[in-house]
């Protein structure tokens, strides 16, 4: 059973909203000092913005992305939701800025400097918890933690909940915020691990933002005549470990194509990972695609958004949906990979558009 994407919301350094994002990734990237989301307010995204005026950036991005996705799907963002609507949010680092500020207060002033606001809004499920309050989710609401692949994990869990009939609708989101302490840490890790050496491209700098998808089974969205923006046809995840990482990618690509019941000839585009091991992923995928590799459109969103970690996978799915909107082929392949070797391959489809 394929699952339809009926709504997409996106907050990215390349633009806020699907139209801006799709336009931006379709043209050469503009030189920028960093991959930061332009400033914006929550007034147009939540009914009671004052309740969320002190949330962390990761939460703010999540709220805006979910709000846009619900509107895009034709759903009322202000109504109370049934227990059969779920929300899954994937993050890697979460609200690190608040966490850092909490530590700072504690270090400088002792227990008196420990802010309850910074503590409660730095917990990893703060974006999901606030989104549940803002949009009235009363069913399953989960925060999943992982590398760049965590968006794919959230989609996979959503497919399982939708196909088993546990849910009628599931919103999946991914979020991350840019913080200098994290950017510095990854610079150090990359140096220590020799990333960007031996002819491989340097890793994309830290990005930020959020992406959200409304996923529904075809029977549910046809009942309410929602417009499909594409489908999720299959997801697989693997752990890549040397040696043989490229071969593992090749196997995983074959596996997801099989799961999605499509042929390599039907893959019109590949959305490349924003994270580490991009060269390895590219090599394995080229081998899996064989002769077809030369005619596939290879799309790299990292020059536009950097590496937004927890938001990466779903921004890539949004990029794939943007390609489907241009009627450029039947299927897209979305590949994400993390620094610890997590790998996710996902096939999108253009059916239902």
């Amino acid at each position: 059973m394929s699952v339809d994407i009926t709504g997409i919301g996106i907050v990215s350094p390349a633009g806020i909203g699907m139209d801006d994002f799709a336009c931006a990734i379709g043209v050469p990237p503009r030189p920028a000092a960093g991959f930061r989301v332009p400033a914006f307010g929550l007034e147009e995204y939540v009914g009671n913005p004052s309740s969320f005026r002190r949330v962390a950036d990761a939460t703010k991005f999540t709220l805006a992305a979910i709000s846009m996705a619900l509107s895009d799907a034709g759903l009322d963002r202000d109504r109370r939701r049934s227990g059969r609507e779920g929300l899954l949010v994937g993050v890697t680092h979460g609200a690190i800025d608040f966490s850092t500020r909490f530590h700072q207060g504690l270090l400088l002033e002792g227990p008196q400097g420990a802010s309850p606001l910074h503590f409660t809004e730095s917990v990893l499920n703060a974006p999901a918890g606030n989104a549940a309050i803002a949009f009235g989710f009363r069913g399953p609401v989960h925060t999943l933690i992982g590398e760049e692949t965590v968006g794919g994990s959230a989609v996979r869990m959503a497919l399982s909940l939708l196909r088993s009939g546990e849910l009628d609708r599931c919103i999946v989101a991914g979020a991350e915020e840019w913080v200098v302490i994290v950017a510095n840490a990854y610079d150090g890790i990359d140096r220590a691990r020799g990333m960007g050496k031996r002819g491989s491209p340097p890793p994309a700098p830290l990005g930020e933002g959020a992406a959200a998808l409304v996923l529904e089974t075809a029977s549910v969205d046809s009942r309410r005549r929602a417009a499909s923006k594409g489908t999720i046809r299959g997801v697989v995840s693997r752990r890549l470990q040397p040696p043989g990482m490229s071969a593992a990618v090749e196997e995983a690509v074959w596996a997801v194509i099989g799961l999605a019941a499509c042929r390599t000839e039907e893959i019109a585009h590949v959305i490349l990972p924003t994270g580490r091991y991009r060269r390895v992923v590219e090599q394995g995928t080229v081998r899996a695609m064989g002769e077809k590799a030369g005619v596939i459109r290879w799309i790299d969103i990292a020059p536009h958004v950097g590496n937004p970690f927890g938001a990466a996978g779903l921004m890539q799915v949004a990029a794939s949906a943007a390609r489907h909107a241009e009627n450029t082929g039947k299927c897209g392949l979305v590949l994400t990979c993390g620094i610890e070797g997590s790998f996710c391959a996902l096939v999108t489809g253009s059916e239902g558009r």
Partner: protein, 408 residues
């Protein structure tokens, strides 16, 4: 497809010790693992006590480099290894089963995160070890254990505050029951660190005295640390290979308050919904439940909310169902709480004995429950429930059946 789900492995480590035997014996004896904190200077806080683990018997890491691991990875490893031993399967056979690994944590390796933050702020970025950031991330501890035992795939890591462990177990349960996988490794863990200690201190949620869930004089929680891991297998498969079945997981329910980030909904609608859907999922009526292992944090708001949820769910029987919280003995394990308390619930069914609610002295009319004051025999106990509620309004309930129970 709805398959029965057997528990074939249990591992646990708390401040009461490492292993099922040590924990169970000390819990039924009503012993407390709460002691003065030694890991950091806790004297400056409202309380200096917690369920800190004094001597963790860290098993050797053979594939993963020991020097760069966070304490939380060691906690998880200890619990995993005990559970693995129960299954009677060698690690390569477990790896060949390609189990899903579903774990819950709130903070992952926050002890490493604290070290990074402190060095970064005091001495600048060049002096802070970046590998501490990698060890801090909440998906890294499961990855370490998976790497150590060559388990394939990518872990599913839930961070749903204090319901993380219960949701991780619930997800694994669904995956095995539906036939998606034949085996799952699931549970939760968290370590004690100053970040979380100071955080709950700032919320004025820590008791300066004893943690007394459901007591009229309760005034806060006590923190703890630990891990709980279970192996779940398709019942028929476990039976066919002659596995020792330690219990049966029969239901899981979840809900969200959508009310407030830190305060529970006083109407308890979300908690009732989670408990009710867990029972419906299990296919049992409330009357079948012989024991509730409560979330029971000892905070005024949580316990009042949970008591009203239990009373609403069980109706006129609500005041007679035995209820206890083990948090006064081991502390609040946050992401590990749901898993460890689920394990204690499974052990209660196995041993036909109810764990006590330590420090309970003065009944609270707002919590008119049948609190288990001292451990008691429960020869007819067949079905029990474990509750978990967390920040963000997340609620989860797990329903277990005795391994000798009537599953047909």
């Amino acid at each position: 497809m709805r398959r029965r789900v057997a528990i074939t492995g249990i591992g646990i480590v708390t401040s009461l010790g490492a292993g099922k035997k040590a924990n169970w014996e000390r819990i039924v004896a009503g012993e407390s693992g709460i002691r003065p904190v030694s890991r950091f200077d806790a004297e400056k806080y409202r309380t200096g006590n917690a369920g800190e683990i004094a001597d963790l018997p860290v098993p050797p890491w053979r594939r993963v480099r020991r020097s760069r691991l966070d304490f939380a990875s060691n906690l998880l490893h200890v619990a995993f290894l005990e559970a693995l031993g129960d299954t009677g399967l060698p690690p390569d056979e477990i790896a060949a089963c390609a189990p899903i690994v579903s774990l819950g944590t709130t903070l992952g390796g926050m002890i490493s995160g604290e070290r990074y933050h402190k060095t970064y702020m005091r001495q600048g970025p060049s002096r802070a070890m970046p590998s501490l950031v990698a060890d801090h991330l909440a998906h890294c501890q499961p990855l370490h254990v998976m790497e150590e035992y060559s388990l394939p795939g990518v872990p599913v890591v839930f961070s749903d505050a204090c319901a993380s462990g219960a949701n991780a177990v619930g997800h694994a349960f669904r995956s095995v029951r539906s036939g998606e996988v034949d085996m799952a490794v699931c549970g939760g863990y968290d370590s004690l660190c100053e970040f979380v200690f100071a955080g709950f201190h700032s919320l004025q949620a820590l008791t300066p005295g004893l943690c007394r869930p459901f007591d009229r004089t309760r005034d806060g929680m006590v923190l703890g640390e630990g891990a709980g891991v279970m192996f779940l297998e398709a019942w028929d498969r476990a039976g066919a290979r002659g596995a020792r079945i330690l219990g049966e997981l029969i239901g899981y329910g979840e809900s969200t308050d959508a009310f407030h980030m830190t305060r529970p909904d006083p109407e308890a609608a979300g908690a009732i919904s989670a408990m009710r859907s867990a029972l419906a999922d299990a296919g049992v009526e409330p009357d079948a439940v012989g024991y509730v292992n409560a979330h029971g944090t000892g905070t005024p708001f949580n316990d009042a909310m949970e008591a009203s949820a239990i009373l609403a769910l069980f109706g006129e029987r609500g005041g007679r169902v035995p209820v206890s919280s083990i948090k006064p003995m081991i502390g609040h394990l946050l992401g590990g709480a749901g898993a460890v308390e689920g394990i204690i619930t499974a052990l209660a069914l196995q041993e036909k004995r109810l764990p006590p609610n330590l420090n309970y002295r003065a009944p609270d009319p707002a919590c008119a429950l049948r609190i288990v004051r001292v451990s008691e025999r429960a020869p007819s106990l067949d079905v029990a429930m474990s509750n978990s509620f967390g920040f963000g309004g997340t609620n989860a309930a797990l329903v277990f059946r005795s391994p000798t129970g009537n599953g047909d």
